[in-house]
């Protein structure tokens, strides 16, 4: 009988593991360790309602203090774990206390990828991943403030939309030829670029930042074409890096994340991992993936909790993602990597359309802009490995669910 489970990382995956462990009858000692001084909280609102000041801080936590007390969860918050000794099964925390475990879950997440150009160490460069980041950014989001955002991905564009709504003069600098180029079709990129521009956000693609300048703190961004942009506030959203330091130092296999199997097991039989920090197999898509998403953190956190209790559970879900920008909702399900056919459903001019991806005739991903019906139907069809009729698929009058 497992008597002590430690969870290092108090984000979505860690919180879900706690929930599942207690709900499914784990009676032993349960300790949740987190770097931040906050109860486990939701990150998606950070770049949206919370940054905008529309959502109070007390609505961010998944659960309040009483829940953890009631379920006998020991919280070690604001106390980073320093090291793992897998032989002795010990985790040492920042205050030097050592905790022993029978099972350990690493749900350490990812951290913002830092800028690396000259000037990247200047004070005043912001990233957006945690409550403390938002607290530092929010005060500067005043009407008229010149906000420069490096990176036109989800975080960059969501932050741009929020800053623009607050009246800032917002410029997004993107290195690729279109925004969100790694995650969506070009028609979806074009649509969102148009939406941002209509709202007054300046989006500049094909622009590589080569240098940051400033005397006491960052004041200016200089690009490869010698253009430069004055910044009252600079935010970089150029991706995330899996937090693998503890795992790697403990000798666990790591390669673009902590390597786990379909049961969330690492290379050490007593240690499991879940969430953004993992590199895991997807049977549905026939490849290893590392996903940065609420859905994956939630599902892996749950699977890991069941597996740690000896209840063999395979994690193999069709992943999904979403992004809110101005009044637009982008809903994505599946993984489009390796597609051989792309089908557009509907007309972007109507502000609701969908891009479907197929591989060998099978539907593998759906990107739905303001179209929840297609998104939900896509979830089902992708899981069922459905092979839609292409002519029907291209006809937006035919519901996606009726295309097979």
């Amino acid at each position: 009988m497992t008597s002590t489970i430690l969870i290092v990382g108090a984000g979505q995956a860690g919180a879900q593991a706690v929930d599942t462990l207690r709900r499914e009858g784990f009676e032993g000692r349960l300790v949740l360790i987190g770097d931040e001084p906050h109860l486990p909280y939701q990150r998606p609102p950070l770049s949206k309602q919370f940054l905008a000041g529309e959502m109070a801080a007390d609505r961010l936590p998944f659960r309040h203090q009483a829940f953890y007390e009631q379920h006998r969860v020991e919280l070690k918050l604001g106390l980073p774990a320093l090291s793992i000794d897998p032989g002795a099964r010990l985790v040492t925390l920042a205050d030097e206390q050592a905790l022993s475990y029978d099972r350990l879950l690493l749900s350490t997440g990812a951290r913002s990828r830092p800028l690396s150009c000259p000037g990247a160490d200047l004070p005043g460069i912001h990233y957006l991943r945690a409550i403390a980041d938002v607290d530092a950014i929010r005060a500067a989001l005043r009407p008229g403030a010149r906000v420069i955002i490096i990176g036109g991905g989800y975080i960059g564009l969501e932050t741009a939309a929020t800053a623009r709504k607050l009246g800032c003069a917002v410029t997004v600098l993107e290195m690729a030829d279109r925004v969100m180029n790694r995650v969506v079709a070009s028609s979806v990129s074009e649509y969102f670029e148009h939406e941002h521009r209509t709202q007054g956000v300046k989006i500049i693609c094909n622009t590589r930042v080569v240098r940051l300048e400033g005397t006491r703190s960052v004041e200016r961004v200089v690009c490869a074409d010698r253009s430069s942009y004055e910044a009252d506030l600079l935010i970089a959203g150029i991706g995330a890096v899996p937090e693998t330091r503890l795992a790697a130092e403990a000798g666990l296999a790591c390669e673009n994340g902590i390597v786990v199997d379909s049961h969330c097991r690492t290379s050490d039989p007593a240690i499991y991992a879940a969430g953004d920090c993992t590199n895991h197999p997807s049977a549905r898509f026939g490849m290893r993936v590392r996903l940065e998403s609420v859905d994956n953190a939630f599902e892996q956190g749950k699977s890991a909790a069941l597996n740690m209790q000896g209840r063999a559970t395979v994690h193999d879900r069709v992943p999904w993602f979403w992004s809110d920008q101005f009044d637009n909702k982008l809903l994505i399900v599946g993984l489009s990597q390796g597609f051989d056919q792309q089908v557009l459903r509907g007309d972007p001019a109507t502000r609701a359309f969908t891009v479907c991806y197929l591989k060998g005739g099978e539907l593998i991903a759906v990107e739905a802009v303001n179209h929840s019906k297609d998104y939900m139907a896509g979830r089902k069809l992708i899981a069922e490995r459905a092979r839609p009729d292409i002519d029907k698929l291209a006809d937006p009058q035919i519901p996606l669910k009726d295309t097979i």
Binding site: Q42, R63, F67, D295, F298, S372, K373, Y375, M376, K380
Partner: protein
């Protein structure tokens, strides 16, 4: 402070005093109501906080917007009184609201 009744699939009734100003989903999550998953946290992106509203209360709720309607269409066993609990904002006028949790969540 509206009092909300959650009825489980086994018929068990659980009454919770909810603060006004939060959503029905947030109240359910805070109190660990079984069957409310709420994976996306209220972004109307997952349909895992689906509930059935007692018929006498349906007309008292602001109607679902298109985005919610579209999510519900492929939710697990949708009915005419289906709603996503993340889209129901609690007010004093909803004191006594009664909802039933479906057997499953998701599509």
């Amino acid at each position: 402070m509206p009092r909300i009744a959650f009825i489980g699939t086994d018929g068990t009734r659980r009454e919770i005093d909810a603060p006004a100003g939060v959503t029905l989903m947030e109240t359910a999550r805070e109190h660990g109501v079984r069957g409310i998953v709420a994976q996306c946290g209220g972004a109307c992106a997952c349909a895992t906080c689906h509930i059935y509203v007692s018929p006498q209360w349906m007309a008292k709720l602001p109607p679902a917007e298109d985005m919610e309607e579209g999510m519900l269409e492929s939710a697990w066993e949708p009915r005419p009184n289906s709603r996503l609990s993340c889209q129901i904002h609690l007010t004093g006028a909803l004191d006594g609201l009664e909802v039933t949790v479906p057997e499953r969540q998701g599509s």
